[in-house]
Amino acid sequence: MLAVVQKELVTYFSSFLAYVVIALFLALSGFYFYTNLAFFLLNGGFDLVRGLWQYQFHDMLQRNIFLLPLLTMRLFAEERRLGTLELLWTYPLRDLDIVLGKYLAALIVFALMLAASAIYPLLLLPSHVDIAPGPLVAGYLGLFLIGAAFLACGTLISSLTDSQVLAAAATYAILILFWAMTWNEFAVGAPVLWILSSLSLFDRFYTFARGGIDTRDVCFLVLFSAVFLSWTLLALGSRRWRGVR
């Protein structure tokens, strides 16, 4: 599996995709940090968590909807197009090694990107504001777990097609569906509301953004990723009865 992780990381950084995604993410989250901070100062806020971090985390999350599918779109689609997936299947690697290897590589790039964005809160340190680390850790954990779920979803979609563009577009569609799912939740009845809000990825984020960690949310997000990764395994296994496509 480590061989696959390493190969994927080499590919990310030699094709500049990783640099582009990380740079875009840092530029956008830097811009939002600047506007959120300005807003916070103008309003004379005192509570960093409620007045600044939660807006910043929500903004970063929304950028991830558009950036993370760029990391996953080529994972399998490109290998299918090139025909190299067929080769991987003849090496002593299990499908699980291939799926986890690719997923982990995407997670590592994502983690690097999140870690680099930690520079923005650190910019506040010289201002002698008392910054509690807990809410920041919770927010970043939430971002990481939801991002991991996005990546798992993108990995599955990428394994279903040999077109990167199609993979990215379909992943956007699904993530946006999950995002918009609870926008109008009050327009429908209570039972539907319950189903929608328990499935929604984004509603799970509120607690994290405000500095809390709810183990139910953590479990849900980890499970969400696990389910999409196992579907990816099924998609790869379909060659047994469909042949190599």
Binding site: A3, K7, L87
Partner: protein, 321 residues
């Protein structure tokens, strides 16, 4: 060695490979021949463990590919058709990845990579990106990855397809250099190519094995079927009647001002040309038509149905073996 026994592979209702059995002995190089869509690639992918057989068994170096996939894959090097590659990886980087993926021990990796780089003549391009290499070199990179990990069995699916004649002969030399040390199954849809590399040929058509023989035997069998095209400056009717009487000529027909002669073998060709010169007919054209692969298969299939069933060399019914 490779043992394929009663292999059948179906995709939905479509039967790609139908009850195919053959074996490749240790150290033997066998050509696997068939027109496009005959089931070559499906058979090779099954041997390579990409998907399991619908029924029947495939063993690579004694390991059942469906039951012990890991053990079988460690003994196997596979070269897929069209030599897929990662364009953005360097030759060295790619081979290092393959060595890791094939679980070559860390200490031995460097040496393994050096060995296959040498064997496949890649030393001059090893730092370049695979995507920037010529097709011939990319094909060598494909062979190099198959060779990594020192596998006993090599499955090469059309290693020379899409190359120019010079590159074809280079790749053929590389494959020849593997002979003897490894068990090789090598597919192609060009008979002459297979006969230059392989000691034995297995021919598959529409998912079934239609012939399996030593290369020379098969070549001799097929040589008994030569079509000649003659254009002579003489009354065609007379010439036609005279040629039809030559020993070994099966049929003479007039077509577009030329004579089409179905001859038995090379000796018949010689007799026809002697007749033409003896009569003093000015010869304008004498061409021998090579059989297309499709015709070879049709001939083999027809030959097969004409033969008595107890002929041991007749293998239309692969199930009998």
């Amino acid at each position: 060695m490779i043992e394929v026994s009663h292999l059948t592979k179906q995709f939905g209702d479509f039967t790609a490979v139908d009850d195919v059995s053959f074996a490749v002995a240790t150290g033997e190089c066998v050509g696997f021949l068939g027109p496009n869509g005959a089931g070559k690639t499906t058979t090779m992918r099954t041997i390579a463990g990409i998907f399991p057989p619908t029924s029947g068994t495939v063993k690579v170096a004694g390991h059942d590919v469906a039951r012990e996939p890991d053990a079988a894959r460690r003994k196997l090097g596979y070269f897929p058709e069209h030599a897929p590659y990662y364009p953005e990886m360097s030759v060295d980087g790619y081979l290092a990845f393959v060595a890791r993926a094939k679980r070559v021990a860390r200490k031995a990796r460097h040496e393994h990579v050096e060995r296959v780089v040498g064997a496949c003549g890649l030393a001059s391009v090893r730092r370049r990106l695979v995507g920037k290499l010529s097709k011939g070199f990319r094909q060598r990179v494909g062979l190099a990855q198959a060779l990594l990990g020192d596998p006993e069995v090599l499955i090469l699916d059309e290693p020379t397809s899409g190359l120019d004649p010079e590159q074809v002969s280079e790749i053929r030399e590389v494959v020849k250099s593997f002979r003897g040390r490894r068990t090789i199954l090598f597919s192609s849809h060009i008979l002459s190519e297979v006969s230059q590399v392989a000691q034995r040929v297995v021919i598959i058509h529409r998912g079934k094995i239609v012939a399996e023989d030593a290369t020379e035997v098969l070549a001799r069998r097929l040589a008994g079927a030569v079509t000649l095209w003659l254009r002579i400056d003489a009354p065609l009717g007379d010439a036609r009647a005279a040629i039809a009487l030559v020993d070994g000529v099966r049929e003479v027909a007039e077509q577009g001002g030329r004579l089409r002669v179905a001859a038995g073998d090379e000796a018949t060709v010689r007799r026809v040309s002697q007749l033409v010169s003896a009569r003093g007919w000015p010869l304008l054209e004498l061409a021998q038509e090579a059989l297309t692969l499709e015709e070879i298969f049709l001939r083999l299939v027809r030959e097969e149905s004409d033969r008595p069933r107890d002929d041991g060399r007749a293998l239309a019914a692969g199930a009998e073996r």
